[in-house]
Symmetry: D5
Subunit: 147 residues, 10 copies
């Protein structure tokens, strides 16, 4: 049983138990964004968190143990994603990549926005012309070190 | 002179004239995010906008004309970007791709977040532990049509 | 049992029961185009639809449940398809891609044809020189938002 | 001067002369779909057609000659297109590829829809919820020969 | 049991029963070229043909049924084949590709040689300096349709 | 001036002088298949042949010299060809690759068909249902050496 | 049980029985180079050879049969090998490829060194500064046929 | 003028001056294998060697200087070479890669054959059945260091 | 049971037994860097080392035997790694690759740093602004041999 | 003149002026590692640094300006580097990637070693058995943020 098997098992048990990702996030005790990423095999749970999730989803011991191991990250099966929802985010990087670069360098100088010291919040934005997905990302700016 | 040549010319003239992307956005008359993307070859300017930019940057007539043609979009030279700043965004898609998918489907059902009916805002978020890059994205949710 | 297993099972049971895709579409209650895509793992069924299909094809409970989960879309095993029938469609994109782009922009301006708010109809077009495949596609035009 | 140079020249001259693809199609004497593909380097013009286009766009003799040579086809710079409009068509192949295959085989048996003995028509479909792009494709069905 | 499993089973049973591809082609009732392609998972057998092959090779019912389903074609595990015999054919396409194109267009005009309305014959050509493989291919010429 | 430039120059001069590949083959003194491949940059001409072609097409001295140098072979810009005519040959390798392998091994044992000690002949095959392209290939069989 | 399974089984049994590749080559009756390639799934054994190997390694009947079938060749899991020992050979092709080409053409004219009518010998070359691997390759020169 | 330009220039001047690679190797003062690799942009010449070559081939000063700079190595335009002569060497790595690995490890233990402390000799091997290319490679064995 | 299975088993047993990589390195009797690489399938253990590890982790006999076989090296599932920690090292090669090359050649001349006669040491570097990872690599310089 | 042109110019002028990277680093006023990376197009110089370098190497004004613009980073022409020196570093990532991951996580928990807040030092390590390249890398550990 590897980490992908654990992810598959979590998705199936979650469906069977009619739990939402928000429900599971409460059990984990973090935001729904971080918790979902963790349960989908991208983050590492503490022993207490893993056991709580295991209890809620009737996971076997080995799965509970695996949730505490740092996973080999990367959630997609191909370099260019085929799923239309996920592709739209890839498209944003493709179309706006140099724009991100130009504006962040203009504001901060040479460096990057951290994808590690990072958090985000995904919510529904009501709109009479059709509701919108609103995503707020916040990552620490890390300047290139000179030496 | 193709669109990439126009982009290169804009970057050079902008540097020589000590103009910021924010300055150019005022000339264009849209947000700095949209305007920068447009000037980097990803969006289409109106005739008035193109002429105003042309005047500010001393662009030749052919460049002004090209800015009004819908460009072949995609700003990066490889499928997986090598630039560290842009790669971090690709990494977010790779690590959080299935999380975006899970949470948007939980909130909205099957569909996508539009990358066309889309806007964003990139700002500095002051933080005593080091300032942060804050990006707010908003895209219309488009449900899959059944028929 | 993942979604691909469900797709394989549906194909085999359909063959054994001598049902056509048109028969299954009636059970689903949508067009044969949408229903086939759904049964081949690209769309999401409602609970009632999934149960009806499950009954018609003797699918196990887990398969019925999976049909109601939004799938990771993309039906092909390689970026350039090897199957001759499917390749011809890829070839149309390769040969006519810039033509689609030129004509849609001429008619509508900058934007895209939605592949989400989209429907299609595939029929036989009798022709004395050999019958033809006729495909009518209709997708909402989405203009690029300026902001 | 190779065929790509001719294509670039046509795009630029067309913009300068404020001609539409529909205007050029009248000069060519075929549908706007076929004519645009030809002028974008995918089809072969007759001598008369090439000269008429050359006259309308002030093309040099060598360009007029090149338009009569069968081109090396394929209009896109990468196997997976980056341009959002063109990508949507690739996405349709990716998502609906096996559906095209299933339905055409159900109707016609083993074989393909020709992309050579093929024509299409692209029009605006007025719709109160937002106009739609309507594309009608028609390709001869070619059964696999047994021998 | 998918189509690849059926192919593997056919290869093994054929070896065990000491049958040649020519023997199997007689049972199928077509040329050895078409029959071998069909048994290797690239063509579709009729019910009678599938049953005859099933009887000769003691195939299970499910395999016999699968042989009647139109397969997802493409027999090679990588885009550039690694097997030396098959690579030589790929090399012919690589080295002679533009020659095929130039000569067919010179003789027929713009269009293609069909790979669907196609047949071939592979025989031994005795030669005192070493026997040769002789392959005769014949494919219908399909002119590009103008419209 | 590299070999690709020589190829481009030959194609242009040939068009201007209204010469066919068959005409040029007579000047070269070999079959139209070999001669066309040579003039398209895949084979090496003798000094006499290069000079004869140079005279017929008014090629500069440097081009005549280059035609006598063994070229870096491979005539296509991508591993999977995009041109529909050439792709059909790639498709034949993809679909019939394992069939070629099975039948040649059945007839000759382990080894390959040479693509070097190889010749071919491409002709029009008149057919009331539409003329066909007929290609006869002949390559020496080379058995794997054991040692 | 496919050919890869046979290869895996041979490697495991060989380790268990403490046999060297040289020992197995004696049983096969050919050089250690050819025999190892054959046992690693790249060459075809005669019935007598397969049975001798089967007896020495306690292989099941099906494995003995598979060793007599011409395999789909290619021993590496990726186009650019990751194993450092094998990569060094790929590096030699990358760095010295054009040198091989220049020197063989200078000596022999246009053509290739056969990889089929080929043999090699791999030995230890004692050297006070550290022993060396010595590989002698010999392949028949095959001139390009003109016709 | 970069190193590739220098390589192109050397190839052209060598042809014009009717010099062989062996002639140039004498001028360089090393084997024809090493010298050819160096002149094709893969090795670094000393100042004396570069000047001698420059004099023999009338190279400009900048080219002479470039020959003394360590080049970015790798002589082929694609990961899998398309040229048939060079491809055969790639095929040897593909088919015999695991054999090289097995035999070198059997003789020497874990480690590699150096491609740096390496030399080779390429000669004609007369053979009544057709002359052969004989290549002797010798590379220092480097054991993996444990620590 | 292949080597990857052995690696998976080691990771799971290590977690269950609450052993650290440092603990296992003591059992192996080498540095934690080399030992971890070996246990993750990249190096070869001696019989005594393999048995000691097998005893500590309750590995089956076959796993103990496999640990003594030289593995096919390469620990990552894709050419460009997706895991953020490992990607940072790839990024260092991408960004600093030509810098490594320039500085090593300036200091040592043409040649390479061995990745075989190589060792490294990875430690925590306390720092008030946040602890740092310190990696010391040492590889023998190998000059290119001239001959 | 883009940034790559500036890099080429710097390399040529540096050779002509017989300056070492260490000399240029003194002019820049940072370590030879950072300065070389900057001059090879990977880092951003201040105005004073750019002017000092420009004076030392007689660079044109435009080059001096470009050195102050944040570059699009990534110094290698292909995803897997072909240059043997640089490949060895890629090989270290391939072979030791999971070892880096295991040991850093064991010491620090989930997170990464920064490639931005990073410095390194490359020196010669004298050794009687052959001098060694010693590289000390130090990157800040960044723990994954939970939220």
């Amino acid at each position: 049983m590897n980490r992908e098997d654990v992810t598959d098992l979590i998705v199936i048990r979650k469906a069977k138990k009619k739990l939402s990702w928000a429900n599971l996030a409460e059990i984990v005790g973090h935001s729904k964004e971080w918790s979902t990423a963790a349960l989908l095999g991208q983050m590492t749970l503490s022993e207490a968190q893993a056991k709580a999730v295991g209890a809620a989803l009737d996971l076997p011991d080995e799965a509970v143990e695996q949730l505490q191991v740092v996973p080999y990250k990367g959630s997609l099966p191909s370099a260019v994603p085929t799923d239309p929802l996920i592709y739209r985010f890839y498209e944003l990087v493709s179309v706006y990549g140099t724009t991100f670069k130009a504006l962040i360098h203009e504001e901060f100088g040479d460096g990057i926005m951290s994808a590690i010291d990072f958090n985000m919040d995904l919510t529904r934005e009501p709109d009479p012309k059709g509701d919108r997905v609103r995503i707020v990302m916040s990552g620490k700016f890390l300047p290139y070190k000179t030496y």
